[in-house]
Amino acid sequence: MLGSREEGFIDPWQGAILLWFSVLPTAILFLPSLLVSRAQQDAWIAVVVATLLTVPLAVLIGWLLGRFPGKTLFQASEAILGKILGKAFALFYVLAFVQLNAIVLREFGEFLVTAVMPETPLIVFTVTLTALTIYAARNGLEVIARSAQFILPLMVSFFVIVLVLVTPKMSPRNLFPLFEGGLGSLLLGAFIALGFTGEIIVMAIIGAFIQPTQGVKKSLVLGLAGILLFLTLTVIGGLLVFGASEAARLTFLAFSLARVISIGNFLERIEVLFMAIWVGGVFIKVTLNLYIAALGLATAANLTEYRPLCAPLAALTVVLSTWLFDSLTRVFFFVEQVFPIWALIWEFIIPFSLGFMALVRKVEGGRP
């Protein structure tokens, strides 16, 4: 396709999987404890509310991709806003994705340092992961999608195994009474979760490479459904096993869930497996974000290739990930109190204004 700087195509099912990987890896590990501390035993309802609030964004993305077939958000913005504003928009999104990537990298490093390898410097994890993601991102979207397809069965089966094995420790009483904390805390929890689920905005960029073009709708529906399913199951599982008050105190709820499994003194310490698979998930997420940032920068600067930009952008991300935050507490504070509002701005408000502009200025498609 001319001007898109990407030759590969993905099918709708791969698009859905990439959507899961763009939200779930960090959301599963970091979101539950934040949610439970806000909404107590209603945290799973907060996840449902957040997903429902994300549906309009999914509709908008589907509509934009239908109006500008085969164009990424960056190219569509240039058609809608004109050359200069469109490029400024693309640059803004590149910065947003680089920052998001830096946060994800930091979360990844902090988790490994805190939970598994406390003696190793954080930078070791971030640099090794980034080196790998440069290689993957340079190979294009098809390769990212295929590696996601490879990791997915492992992730899902392990997820199911953990949930099945912890069932003996579950007690349904932990979910009641419903709506104890009131509607306010529930909505606040949903608002925090919205920052994570809103990351489906990546579909506005990778959706342009989905073939057939009509498959975007299928990817969006399947993607949202999967996100809802896995996130709700994690939160409900954590609540059922630990109860709201203890779950709120656990930093990594999903990891602790795998940790309590102990069957007959021989099936123990499965959490290491959880960690291995989670690292795979984060790898896909970071690769996807890096790919999108490089593609956006290449589009904004009218380059013929995005590939040379991957390595410098990744290096910048590593530096940012060590610089932006000074501790895990700061990361959690950021994710809880700053990121939801920041995400609301760039994941929801700006795309919706873009769609509104396209309607008002009656801009349409271009060649498919």
Binding site: F191, A301, L303, P308, P312, L313, W323, I341
Partner: protein, 78 residues
Amino acid sequence: MFIFLIAVAFLLIAYGEAVPLYRQKKYSELAVMGVVWSLGLALSLALVLNLPLPNPTDWMERLMVPLFRLLETFLGSL
């Protein structure tokens, strides 16, 4: 020590990406890549040398935490 590692990493990137671009005469790619590359290099050197840098996270926190608190009190009254 750290400065040495940073220099090695950034030189590797420059060797791997910039030299082929220069040979293919793709100068605009080279320019954009150079900007991002030098931004990363400058930031990491400043970090290692402990230079006082304004941290964007501080700005974002100053801007958005009050908004979040406002929302918190509003939703708390529901």
